[in-house]
């Protein structure tokens, strides 16, 4: 018997960029950047966008010159590389700018009182030491909670239908859920207004929650379907083999395995609607005092709070709006990372 220890050869990647090549690429980028800055300073081009344009032009020129001796195919490749990378940068920059500006501009308003006081006794343009957004935060959470209670069962049922029952309407349900996710948010608001608010003459958190539920359902249903699809067929077969009926298998074998996945579905749904403004403008309106009764007249929510104070337009009102959007964005980010954590659990 011969004892051999063979280790698998490490994969070779001769085509990957070597270290000197990478250093060269980075330094070319840096030099182009400085050159672009110099050109912007000397000529009349203005601001960061002027710099970006110059940088783009220089990069194109560099790509052109460096490949001049190699051939047309390489030249196209190098130029397209510059163009595609630039397009990606331009596509991504606005989001970074949004995150940055919300953080910078909203930061000044983050104080204890922002999370403990409402605006009942504070005028919008008062200093940021006074007043807060607790009423809006509570209102938003309340509406989202009600909307979740309504949509989660429906979304799960629709997921079960698409994966377990697989009845006659499978294609139709899937198609409708998809199309429904494109319903404009204002239309959802208008729908609840014409059906619920108009009849009862009451703008309320409940009406707002109904509108949000319409927007939330497709997200929850689709995520629930995706999650349930991941359940291995063997589990179902095992359930049937043990003599369980379909409903027992579905409820007691399949559903428990995707518990955290369904949590993800709910979280994603909440993240989808927490920032919706338009439907709330037609259903829950706004208000400046803290309240907990979802049927008791107009109520504030974070989006309408931001929207309203932005409209007022004075310095501190706008600062309040920025802080409101910082809170909103923080909630969305939190939900997002929660969804990631839960989403990772079911995937084995």
């Amino acid at each position: 018997m011969i004892a051999t220890t063979t280790s698998a050869p490490a994969p070779q990647t001769p085509w990957s960029t070597s270290r000197p090549a990478r250093v060269r690429a980075v330094s070319i980028l840096a030099i182009s950047g400085v050159a672009a800055a110099a050109i912007v300073l000397v000529t009349g081009l203005a601001g960061i966008d002027g710099w970006a344009l110059t940088f783009f032009a220089i990069s194109l020129t560099v790509a052109f010159v460096r490949t001049a001796r190699i051939g047309a195919k390489e030249r196209t490749d190098a130029i397209m590389r510059v163009i595609i990378s630039s397009a990606a940068v331009v596509a991504f920059v606005p989001w970074l700018s949004i995150f940055g500006s919300v953080l910078l501009k909203g930061y000044s308003g983050v104080r204890i009182n922002y999370f403990t006081q409402d605006m009942r006794t504070t005028v919008p343009d008062d200093f940021l030491e006074y007043g807060g957004a607790i009423h809006a935060i509570v209102g938003s959470l309340m509406m989202v909670l009600i909307a979740t209670v309504i949509t989660l069962p429906l979304g799960i049922l629709s997921g079960i239908y698409l994966t377990e029952v697989r009845g006659r309407f499978t294609f139709l349900v899937r198609f409708v859920v998809q199309s429904m996710s494109g319903v404009p948010s204002i239309v959802a608001g208008l729908f609840v207004y014409t059906t619920y608010v108009y009849g009862t003459e009451s703008f309320s958190a409940f009406a707002g929650a109904l509108a949000l539920a319409v927007l939330m359902l497709p997200t929850v249903a689709r995520t629930a379907e995706e999650v349930l699809k991941l359940v291995p067929e063997d589990l179902r077969a095992a359930g049937y083999a043990l003599g369980a009926r379909q409903w027992r298998t579905a409820l007691m074998v399949v559903l428990p395995t995707v518990r955290s996945g369904l949590t993800t579905a709910a979280i994603l749904g909440v993240a989808r609607v927490i920032g919706e403004t338009a439907p709330l403008l037609l259903t829950s309106l706004s208000n400046s005092s803290l309240k907990f009764n979802p049927f008791d007249g107009p109520i504030a929510s974070l989006p309408t709070y931001v929207f309203g104070y932005l409209q007022i337009g004075t310095e501190y009102a706008i600062a309040r709006a920025w802080t409101g959007s910082l809170v909103l964005l923080a909630i969305v980010l939190m939900l997002f990372s929660l969804a990631r954590r839960f989403g990772g659990k079911d995937e084995r």
Binding site: P184, I274, A278
Partner: protein, 322 residues
């Protein structure tokens, strides 16, 4: 020598008993709620707006007046949404024209060019961006982006002003469809990019490798294989983005001055879309005007539904279900 035949799986027959039937019934009715809700939206909006449709007929779609009548009837009610429909389409098309190339670039970059180190964070950023509320896009557009937008608009007008759509009547370049379109573009880039990336990532690896093996460059492979392979899926993604842009309310509300006039000059500071019309006029609308707003909402609903159903069909046809 014996040949072993592989057994063929036998056909399974299922008999559902009463419990199962009840279960399937409950689940089916739960699943059909979305269908019912979608139908109810269309039905109720139509019923509440029916009066307007019968009063104005086709003029509701092409006329350019939004006049609330006086109570004594001296000024008659006259509601029509022509300019807003045009505004909706103009702003969405600007958004799409700006967003589409950027989204394709972004998707190709993420799939084929991005170094491993930056790829993951960028994909996370992309997912995050898709969940930024449109309100925050609007806020950012008004407070941060509009100064850039105005400068670009001035430049465009200066150099290309002889082309009618870039001309202006008043040299005030803020709050124009162009700026709103750019902000909407950054709003729809996430969805378009992630659909495009999804589609591109499904390009058969063999085909791409074959391209390289034949001496093709990266761009060669992209042009010869990736782009043709993903074409219809990408178009579907763009239409999903278009659907979002058509129905966007607050961002447009914050970025555009609502002016009731047909406006094809994209740098002029006037415009609006159907959704922002509803949000603007809702507050102090009379009962009849409310019906007109609901009718406008119905038109918007139909428009986005058609766009979305088309997009869904295209995307689903190109997404093999696992």
């Amino acid at each position: 020598m014996t040949t072993v035949e592989t057994p063929t799986p036998r056909e399974m027959t299922v008999i559902y008993n009463r419990d199962d039937k009840i279960f399937r019934g409950i689940v089916t009715s739960g699943a059909l709620t979305s269908l019912v809700v979608l139908g109810a939206i269309g039905l109720f909006l139509f019923l509440r707006g029916a009066q307007i449709f019968s009063d104005n007929g086709l003029n509701f779609l092409v006329g350019s007046n939004w006049t609330a009548g006086s109570e004594d009837g001296l000024i008659p009610n006259d509601f029509s949404i022509g300019p807003m429909l045009v505004g909706t389409i103009v702003v969405s098309i600007i958004a799409l024209v700006v967003a589409f190339p950027l989204a394709i670039g972004g998707a190709l970059y993420l799939e084929f060019y991005a170094p491993q180190v930056v790829r993951k964070p960028l994909v996370t950023l992309l997912d995050l961006a898709a969940s930024i509320p449109s309100l925050i896009f609007g806020l950012w557009g008004v407070q941060i982006f509009s100064s850039f937008g105005e400068r670009w608009a001035t430049l465009l007008n200066d150099r290309l002003g002889f082309i009618p759509i870039f001309g202006v009547e008043f040299e005030n370049f803020g709050r124009s469809p162009f700026i709103a379109g750019c902000v909407l573009a950054s709003l729809i880039i996430p969805i378009t990019t992630s659909v495009a990336r999804e589609v591109y990532s499904r390009t058969p690896r063999d085909l791409v490798d074959t391209c390289y093996a034949l001496g093709g460059s990266k761009w060669g492979a992209i042009r010869a294989v990736v782009i043709p392979y993903g074409r219809s899926g990408v178009i579907g993604g763009a239409m999903l983005g278009l659907g979002r842009a058509l129905g966007e309310t607050v961002a447009v509300y914050l970025l555009l001055n609502l002016v009731f006039r047909y406006n094809f000059r994209i740098l002029e500071s006037e415009g609006g879309n159907v959704a922002s019309l509803i949000a603007t006029k809702f507050g102090e609308a009379t009962d009849y005007e409310l019906q007109a707003l609901v009718a406008a909402g119905f038109v918007l609903f139909l428009l986005t539904l058609v766009v979305n159903m088309t997009a869904t069909t295209i995307v689903q046809r190109n997404t093999p279900r696992a």
